[in-house]
């Protein structure tokens, strides 16, 4: 069984995207029993969306110079 620290590292490091079936199974098991890690996971998913929008905002043209 994963601990919270192991689960959060698995999620935030990028290991989750490369994980095998067994690691994914243990991560899912941990989420089932830990409400804090479930909330953290939902926030982390939102963070990915938010960072994409932040990047788009950084790369948007300057208003003053628009046609």
């Amino acid at each position: 069984m994963m601990t919270c620290k192991q689960y959060i590292f698995h999620l935030t490091s990028g290991q989750a995207q490369e994980a095998g079936a067994l690691d994914r199974f243990w991560a899912a098991q941990h989420r089932l029993v830990c409400h804090r890690c479930r909330a953290y996971t939902r926030n982390d998913q939102q963070l990915s969306v938010l960072l994409q929008r932040y990047r788009d905002q950084v790369l948007s043209p300057d208003e003053a110079a628009k046609d």
Binding site: T3, C4, K5, Q6, I8, F9, T12, S13, G14, Q15, H35, R36, C37, A39, Y40, R42, N43, D44, Q46, L47, V49, L50, L51, R53, Y54, R55, Q57, V58, L59, S60, P61, D62, A65, K66, D67
Partner: protein, 191 residues
């Protein structure tokens, strides 16, 4: 010909700011970021007129800018090997107990309807603040992954770090940004 020159001048006025903001995410001091932008804009000015008319200039120049930034990162980080000393503090000690479970009152509560809050300049200013408060090396790894859209192997090669160091940096960055946003924008509620 004059029309093309006018178009280029107008394009530069419009996009120099975003290019500089993008470069500043990865390169410091600001003067070095400005040099990278200048190099990329020079490439635009030297571009063949026919090619320019058949290309998306934004995509072309940001592609050059990415390469200029990567060149600078390669030079700066070649020879550095230890990322273990990247963190002056231990964030995990603040988050987890001796059994490696959450300490009471530090795990961020779920964010409610963040979509509605993502469109404001004020919100992006807070994101900017959180990103710029990251320790230097995790910030470098994180910005290459999220903003330069490099893959993990490319980042490890460019910065001369192991996969384990890469994971440590990414984890530190994402954890700290979530905590920072939770505290500074989402009310600081914890579980």
């Amino acid at each position: 010909m004059n029309q093309v020159i006018d178009d280029r001048a107008q394009w530069i006025c419009r996009w120099r700011g975003p290019m500089l903001r993008f470069a500043c995410l990865h390169v410091s001091p600001r003067e070095e970021a400005e040099d990278a932008v200048q190099d990329a804009l020079l490439a635009l000015l030297e571009m063949d007129i026919d090619k320019l008319q058949s290309t998306d200039p934004k995509r072309y120049v940001f592609g050059i800018l990415k390469n200029k930034v990567m060149d600078r990162l390669r030079k700066r980080y070649s020879g550095e090997v230890s990322y273990c000393e990247a963190f002056s503090d231990d964030l995990d000690a603040y988050l987890f107990n001796e059994r490696s479970h959450w300490l009471d009152g530090v795990a961020p509560a779920g964010w409610h309807r963040p979509d509605e809050q993502m469109q404001t300049d004020q919100f992006f200013a807070v994101v900017d603040l959180c990103v710029h408060h990251l320790p230097t090396k995790p910030a470098q790894v994180f910005s290459m992954k999220e903003f330069l859209e490099c893959d993990a192997d490319e980042i490890c090669t460019t910065l001369g770090l192991s996969k384990t160091d890469y994971w440590q940096c990414m984890s530190r960055a994402r954890k700290q940004i979530q905590l920072c946003l939770n505290q500074k924008w989402f009310g600081g509620a914890c579980l």
